[in-house]
Symmetry: C2
Subunit: 241 residues, 2 copies
Amino acid sequence: MAESDLKPEVKALVFDVFGTVVDWRNSIAREVEAVARVKGWAVDPYEFADRWRAKYQPSMEPVRRGEKPYVRLDDLHRTSLLALLEEFGLDPLPADELEHLNRAWHRLDPWPDCVPGLTRLKKRFILATMSNGNVALMVNMAKHAGLPWDTILGAEPARNYKPVPTVYLTGADWLGLRPEEVMMTAAHNGDLRAARDLGFRTAFILRPDEYGPNQTKDLKAEEAWDQVVGGMEELADRLGC
Amino acid sequence: MAESDLKPEVKALVFDVFGTVVDWRNSIAREVEAVARVKGWAVDPYEFADRWRAKYQPSMEPVRRGEKPYVRLDDLHRTSLLALLEEFGLDPLPADELEHLNRAWHRLDPWPDCVPGLTRLKKRFILATMSNGNVALMVNMAKHAGLPWDTILGAEPARNYKPVPTVYLTGADWLGLRPEEVMMTAAHNGDLRAARDLGFRTAFILRPDEYGPNQTKDLKAEEAWDQVVGGMEELADRLGC
């Protein structure tokens, strides 16, 4: 679809965050490495980051299936971290150190194109997160990384996790917009598929390094998304910002 | 309380918006005047603005008392506007014109100190709205007025209206903060009283012109609030920003 067909209708861009906007893998590995140095842990910080992230999708499943009430991602991250320390055979951390490491997810660094690209996009569009991260996580990350969101939407307002429809739909509803006025922006084909099924516009951001050198998924756009770009500055170019 | 006692604990400032951050009376009167000119209405735009605003508190009461489920302020504003047109003996407006006038509340102008003051405060603190306005209203107003919020809290997340405690408490909870880490900022003593009763810090912003030349209430701080200032730049000075 040509940009000129699209532009008059889109009022807001909503963003997946982990992987799409911020580089969780290098950021978490850096924080794990710092803790490992102090504690004398013999762990590969990238393996630790990957295995922590590997618990992410399964940890949300009971909530998505309605078997457990909504709990925040901070709490799921903490449960995963405790299990991971045990799996690595590491001694439990004191509560304050555990909390500091768990909040490494609040201190993720953006991909280099994000702050300049989002700053341009913000002049024309409403920008909101549409992440499974909770509000405090998203707000603290935005302060750390300089991300210029207009507001935080996503999991916590809907008390559920993507790709459950209510997460996307609650976000559009709170903005007072129809789904077709909102562009879901993500580095993950599955996220875009769920949003498109509900009527959202879609933008795919290619992030071939999200999972490091051996990434096997989301290496290309798997459908004809409305926009397919290499980063936020290219998205700003395409949308005439 | 000295600023140095307070500063280490406060992580976020949350703001009442109508009257505290934006000048609803002059903004609404300007929009009413523009419609009146086109429609040939013989109305005093300031009287129209004041009488529209006078319906604000009563319109939220059934929700606060639990007699009606939460509906957004946009909807309450529309109901009030329809009643007002009838009270003034004016013909009903076509749907699109009614909606445009109702959304005048999305286009309120800030007091002159707000954008510079909030921009300074944002460097040190999380800034969020704690308004009875719904999310779309707050986001659109922020785009119109250039207000640099980190996120939107308040009525819609809690599905109730201030001064019901859940509105303040849901906001602090979503930020992952205890009430004493959050400073409620308002031009209204009653709003601050409700927040202080829950443990929030308080800042009173003097807005003696909110209701025009004949304002009778909130002309002074009625309690020893943590900060009492004449505007957001003075608040930034006091908090060392």
